[in-house]
């Protein structure tokens, strides 16, 4: 089976679906979505909690309900989606892209596409990547794996639980395991602040009296066949365990919620330039990567907190991909770099072609520490154009700022845009 597509979308989660819907609505007939799971919707299917969609649909939905809204839109537009189909390679040849994929029915096949949207999402940081010493007993799961067991398969991974890391999935699973009858004894967070949303600390931990210990980590896992317990210790400013603070906690399950990593093996294989801070592609205002005609959106680009933002970003990526297919854009257009200073870790996009930007460009970013009563400042060259007071900026919560095209056009010799956090 060899196919052709105008726009091929890799991934049928919230990002891929929003991009597909946008591209079709912009008049691209031949849009194709490839999804490796047996159903569309991606990770939303196991996120059964509520809180999704307040921005997009002005109502509070659960993950599966939010996913269904986009699945229904894609169905109504007649967008073909190949399920159980995994992409194994993407290559670029002049202005066409070759996508190699496989599934049980068709075997290995190649699809030729004019544009590709990368929407593969992210995966969880594993125990191996965390370097926790000890044996390899049963009972250690990433929080998302446990979520899949409980919410999709209807199985409980254990009875007495310690959670390392206070990312949102860990917090959500602390509540979920408690509701299902497990005893969650502790959430330990290495950093002096939580990596999750404030609301999840309130409604998942405080509501159920689950203790959260900041600046604490697991230094040993006890048990050979099955986890018997973990040793937790406080850490100093250099994140090194402080002798004498060790505490043994008996448990049969350890969940890891220690961050998400964009899944960019396909992107790297294609030669897309990656940003070492986000582990996602470097993109311009059109969410186009360093490979012409290849776009990226959602958690494969940078890890988001809110699916509403994923949908918004991905809808834009779909529109830009459609514009690319319809009218060839000049890659040589003047490009301005967006620089980060004073605690801003990264921005998406990090490159801007004023010529191709919308009236307003959303720039999303994260900070590297907890900041209070500071100013978020944007410079065009050396001139301050935006100065916003911020009561609190947290590493666990993505921020955004809007740049106006009309403002940028006033600078005929625009060399750089700088986003910075400054003192009062």
């Amino acid at each position: 089976m060899d196919k052709k597509a105008d726009i091929l979308i890799v991934g049928g989660g919230p990002a891929g679906l929003a991009a597909a819907v946008a591209a079709r609505k912009d008049g691209i007939e031949n849009v194709l979505v490839l999804e490796r799971d047996e159903e569309l919707g991606g990770i939303l299917n196991q996120c059964i909690h509520n809180g999704f969609g307040l921005h997009t649909f002005k109502e509070e939905l659960t993950g599966p309900e939010y996913a269904q809204r986009y699945i229904s839109q894609a169905e109504a537009l007649g967008i073909p989606c190949l399920l159980h189909t995994i992409v194994v390679d993407i290559s670029a040849e002049k202005d066409k892209k070759l996508v190699t994929a496989m599934n049980k029915k068709d075997g290995l096949f190649t699809i030729e596409a004019k544009a590709v949207v990368l929407a593969m999402g992210c995966r969880e940081r594993s125990r191996g990547a965390l370097n926790i010493p000890g044996y390899r007993p049963a009972g250690i799961y990433s929080a998302g794996t446990a979520q899949h067991y409980v919410n999709i398969e209807g199985r409980m991974p254990g009875k007495e639980v310690v959670i390392l890391g206070s990312g949102d999935i860990g917090l959500i699973m602390a509540r979920r395991m408690t509701l299902e009858g497990a005893k969650v004894k502790l959430v330990a967070e290495l950093m002096p602040y939580s990596g999750g949303l404030k609301r999840n600390i309130v409604q998942c931990l405080e509501d159920y009296n689950i203790p959260l210990k900041l600046s604490h980590t697991v230094i040993h896992i006890d048990g050979k066949e099955r986890v018997k317990g973990v040793t937790v210790a406080e850490v100093d400013n250099n994140r090194k365990p402080i002798p004498g603070t060790e505490e043994y906690i008996s448990c049969d399950t350890l969940l890891l919620s220690c961050g998400l990593i964009p899944e960019n093996e396909l992107s790297a294989g294609l030669g897309v330039a990656l940003n070492p801070v986000t582990a996602g592609p470097v993109v311009n205002e059109s969410l186009e990567t360093s490979v012409e005609g290849v776009f990226a959106c959602g958690n494969v680009l940078h890890v988001h907190d809110l699916v509403d933002h994923v949908s918004e970003e991905s809808y834009a990526a779909g529109e830009h991909a459609a514009a690319y297919v319809k009218e060839k854009r000049s890659v040589r257009a003047e490009t301005v770099a967006i620089k980060c200073e004073g605690g801003v870790r990264y921005t998406v996009p990090s490159l801007l072609r004023v010529e191709y930007m919308e009236k307003e460009q959303v720039v999303r970013f994260r900070v590297g520490n907890v900041y209070r009563n500071v100013f978020l400042t944007v410079y065009f060259n050396d001139k301050i154009v935006i100065k916003q007071k911020k009561r609190v900026l947290l590493p666990g919560e993505m921020e955004q700022i809007k740049l106006k095209k009309s403002e940028l056009e006033k600078f005929s010799d625009l060399k750089s845009i700088t986003i910075s956090i400054e003192e009062e």
């Binding site: 509520n50 509070e60 269904q68 002096p192 600390i201 309130v202 900041l214 900041y371 009563n373 500071v374």
Partner: protein, 154 residues
């Protein structure tokens, strides 16, 4: 600008002066004042709620109307939407995700969860279908948040 390294153990939940947020009421100039984090959406606004002498509330820090409603409910009758799963018979999935259609009193959450552990839903199940009516005597129905097809061999 304060960096967390200088001020340890910051969860982001403290007040601006660095002191811990209290769950109880505090007396400030004869008024009851309380700090809350709104959980109605992922923005998580930090609310400062003052109870005026006539019993009405003054809510600050909210960025939408939901914050005010949340503060009022949280101080008088705290409620939550409950989400969980229910076992499925004859379906392509072992469990179906469900939610209470509206928020229910916080004190009724565990009772609602226990009641749902006794329920088995028969596939096919359609999104929005009532799985349990009047959960834990709250008058609120529990509905499916996903459709589950029936297996071919059933």
């Amino acid at each position: 600008m304060e960096k967390a390294e200088g001020l340890e153990r910051k969860s982001g939940l403290e007040r601006e002066d660095g002191s811990e947020r209290k769950d109880g009421f505090e007396k400030t100039e004869g008024l009851d004042k309380r700090e809350l984090i709104c959980v109605r959406c992922p923005v998580g606004c930090m609310l400062t709620v003052t109870v005026r002498e006539d019993g009405t509330l003054d809510v600050k820090g909210n960025s939408c109307g939901r914050g005010e409603e949340y503060a009022r409910k949280e101080l008088t009758d705290p409620t939550r939407i409950v989400t969980t799963t229910v076992r499925v018979r004859g379906g392509r999935q072992a469990v179906v995700p469900v939610k209470t259609r509206y928020d229910i009193p916080k004190g009724k959450v565990m009772e609602c969860i226990e009641a749902l552990k006794e329920v088995e839903a028969e596939a096919p199940i359609f999104l929005g279908e009532v799985i349990l009516s009047d959960a834990a005597g709250t008058g609120v129905d529990v509905v499916a948040t996903k459709s589950v097809e029936r297996t071919a061999d059933n």
